[in-house]
Amino acid sequence: MLGVISSLAIISAIPIFAIIINIYSEGARHLTLNFLIDLPPPPVSGKSGGIGPALVGSLILTLLAVAIGGSIGFFTGLYLSEFSHTRLAHYTQIFLQIMVEFPTIIIGLFAYMVLVAPLKRFNALAGAFALSIVIIPYIALNVREAYRSIPYTLKEAAFSLGVSAPIAYLRILLSTARRGVLTALLIGMAKAAGETAPLLLTILGTTFTYFGGLDQPINAIPLLIYNFALSPYERWHQVAWGAAAVLLTITLMIFIISRLVVREVKV
């Protein structure tokens, strides 16, 4: 029976290795500087091309999402930790736990109603807004953990220095909890960089323009992978594999950094 368990466990881990190997074997040869900055190739031609617009778009969207979702999530998490006795914190916590499990496409529908329909145009801001909402609960719940893990006696020490609440929480104790907070932001960043469904309903996905303003459509790497993979053109399938290799590399990098951060906490 132990043998059966072991084999099942190993089977369940096979796909991740297969995915990494397949993606790099199909996509690694695209990992050149030109691929990262060029426009996509025309669908039927042997010309070289890249994912420049999508990469630029992903950077803009991810940074915006981390800035917006990060600040809302951070302060919400701080509140949940330090005012956990309040009814507001109690209900917010339950809401956020449910929100983590929201299908992200539903968040896309919300962003569409709030920022796309009124402007009558797919736009980058709506995409960033949707991604922010996706990551808020992740950031809030992890920041809460980070602040909760500070020993109470250190909180007392901070306040005994006669500093105001913002200085105690945001200067002294934030540096105590900084690894946890950083991990929270990294998790949020990885989510924002890889999330696709809400973008489908908000940014449309331009193919040949880099960035035309926050009120204009924009592209993102995951959306490009989806669109190109389902396109009928073999040349674009190749670009999708290359883009997947880029996205996988970004994900792996964030993952490894966050693991290193956590490991240092334990020392």
Binding site: I16, L88, F102, I225
Partner: protein, 299 residues
Amino acid sequence: MKSGRIFYTILFFFVFTSLLIVVGVVTSLTVTSYPIFSRDGLSFIFKSTWNPVKEDYSILPALLGTLITSAIAISISTPLAISLAVFSIEIVPSKFRAFINNISDLMASLPSVIYGLWGLYVLAPILHQYVMMPLHHYLGFIPLFSTKPIPTNLFTAGVLLAIMIIPFASSVIREAYNAVPYYLKEAAYSLGMTKWEAIKTMLGYIKSAIFAGIFLALGRAMGETMAVAMVVGNTFTFPKSLFDMGYTISSLIANQFPNAEAYNYMIPALYGGAFILFIVGLAINLAGLYWIKKVMIKS
């Protein structure tokens, strides 16, 4: 005093914003889908047509697609997730434990579009050739396998979902298993149990956590969009076998939304589908959270 006040006001503002967003999401679903429910009532849920030209929409085939793919995913992933959790705690040498857990966490953090791409071009052809064709050939008389399969269909989507949700169920089970009090372990072995018998006892002890893990994973499976949209076939038919091409609610939204603005009732219909998905998902996640709470009270 003053800076304190301002600080609390800012905190309160952000918390309120978080709450407002949740409320806003639910409200936008309700309000936008209202026209389709007021026009069609429950027949929006229980018919099986999707005809934009006649503005005739219903959600049942997609809902069934969601249920079928999730059911496939859960039945495959549950034994795998339990095994992975038990393996990492009881079987693997302790110095590799962190590695296994990292692998599991990495599986959870891969973007779903990467699963989708791999599912479409690697998994689907393999399943088609080595699993679905043989099943259809030898067991085609069973209705479940009666359709002559092409690579992208409900079954492929279910298997891909299974792969994707293993780490979610597994990590919930892993945490609960780790939290089993040491004296229970000692008691099990002191009764002369073999390792497998002890494991079975432990798994019995954390039953609620296993349910919680399964339900949370089920919630993920039902809401997953991109990976499914890439392998499910995106065809609006009433599913008769596992090998039919189909839709799930979320992949229906992903696939149909880009042309929805051209019609009068398609946007309400898609929001209506999302509303139903939300309600079903909420029920399932609340059940999962309920079981997690039960575990926490116990330990």
